[in-house]
Symmetry: C2
Subunit: 260 residues, 2 copies
């Protein structure tokens, strides 16, 4: 076993940066380990990044769960990104789909704030959220009933203005920035939250893991489709910032060119 | 302007192979220009490759047309792949969506056979297929009425057994191999034909261009979803054979690990 390989499913795989400046990562070095995210350009929101894993045919889940798509290297990568931000957000739909935690494996560095973006559906906090030491903020649109078990979990409940029954994301991001000291926010889906975020021009960067798989199922894409997006042609252009490879899996980082 | 750049939308962009053995392509060298596809392993069909362009959010079209997604480099790449095969096939649905040709720009090398895979829908050959010097084969399931204008175009009509109302692809591939001397076949979609091909375990390689765009629309993924695929989890594993970059656009080549 050489120093530039990592164990996965019992096999050694080399991890390399392909672009810019191709090189093999040395032992102990993680993808995005040396990443330094910019500070927010806007005074009204954090710097917002999105991290998703997708199959080559563009599916974010297999059998309804995203946990079947990415490798162990992808899961490490996800936790490295979490260590670079002040808060990690997911939509309530993702929490309904499977058990998850939004924190770091390491206990020696401070955990990001966990943010659940609720809507009109249920939020199974007790059942599906593995919280550990993390602080939790649950955002729900005004007028929507709180989850029945919200009182059993120590969470900050944030009542936000409603935007077509959903949390007003611009309002939420402003509150995270100004009332919860969130300079950098990582969003981890699901596809509905991603669409609202990108549609509102609130995303700065997209991190995407391309898993070497074909799913073929009736599963979601990384971003829910919208009729508006279809009529308008392409919605946003991206710039490729970096590409890494671990075996057959690719890790791509893009900057979003928000229009207007 | 240096030798390793190519003109696109008035800008110079460097084209590089990222993996394996990263290097910048020299002037006049095309992505996949030196590609040598294997001969078919099976005696019953050609070696089958699929080439598609997708946005980062996994959409193969914008506003219903695929022509809005890829760059000029992608279109060159598509024609290079066509020059490596004996036949190029698309489903009739792709032809209904937009005008297309399935040939090469260059007149000095022999054109691949154009193959249209029909089903129960219309096949607008006269309206949407720009044929030039290419020979044309139209495959339709037995019992399905031929396009009204089929006689106006010099085409070989192949009546195939029907597989749930669609062309039996294994039968078609055998006929292409044994009756039309097709050793290597390039499929260019659409998503329904791709699904049938992959679902039947008939695909050897997948070439995918990842265009630096977000579409957000209600557009197709590279492969239509199927309930069967969903229930079974992931359908196939892929091996990454190469990765190229032209500016922000990526060109990925995968081998399909067919199961069983």
């Amino acid at each position: 076993m050489t120093h530039n390989t990592k164990q996965q499913h019992g096999e050694d795989i080399a991890i390399a940066r392909l672009f810019p400046e191709a090189r093999t990562l040395i032992d102990g070095e993680e993808i995005y380990g040396d990443l330094e995210l910019p500070l927010p350009a806007s005074p009204d929101r954090p710097y917002v990044i999105l991290n998703m894993v997708t199959s080559v045919d563009g599916r974010v889940s297999a059998g309804g769960k995203s946990s079947g798509i990415g490798s162990r290297v992808d899961r490490t990568c996800m936790r490295v990104l979490r260590s670079k931000v002040d808060a990690v957000a997911v939509g309530a739909g993702s929490l309904r789909a499977e058990k998850m935690n939004l924190g770091l494996d390491r206990g020696d560095i401070s955990q990001p704030l966990a943010v659940i973006v609720g809507g009109s559906g249920g939020i199974p906090l007790l059942q599906n959220l593995i919280l550990g030491e993390q602080r939790l903020l649950v955002a729900v649109p005004r007028g929507v009933r709180l989850p029945a078990n919200a009182e059993e979990i120590p969470a900050t409940i944030l009542r936000t203005p409603a935007d077509e029954g959903r949390v007003d994301l611009a309002w939420l991001l402003r509150a995270l920035r100004h009332e919860h000291e969130v300079q950098r926010l990582l969003v981890e889906g699901g596809p509905g939250l991603n669409r609202s975020l990108i549609g509102a021009g609130l995303l700065d960067e997209l991190f995407i893991t391309v898993a070497p798989k074909l799913v073929l199922g009736q599963e979601h894409a990384i971003i829910s489709g919208s009729a508006a997006g279809s009529a308008a042609g392409t919605h946003a252009d991206l710039s490729l910032l970096s590409a890494h490879q671990a075996g057959d899996e690719l890790f791509l980082r893009y900057r979003v060119q928000n229009r207007g």
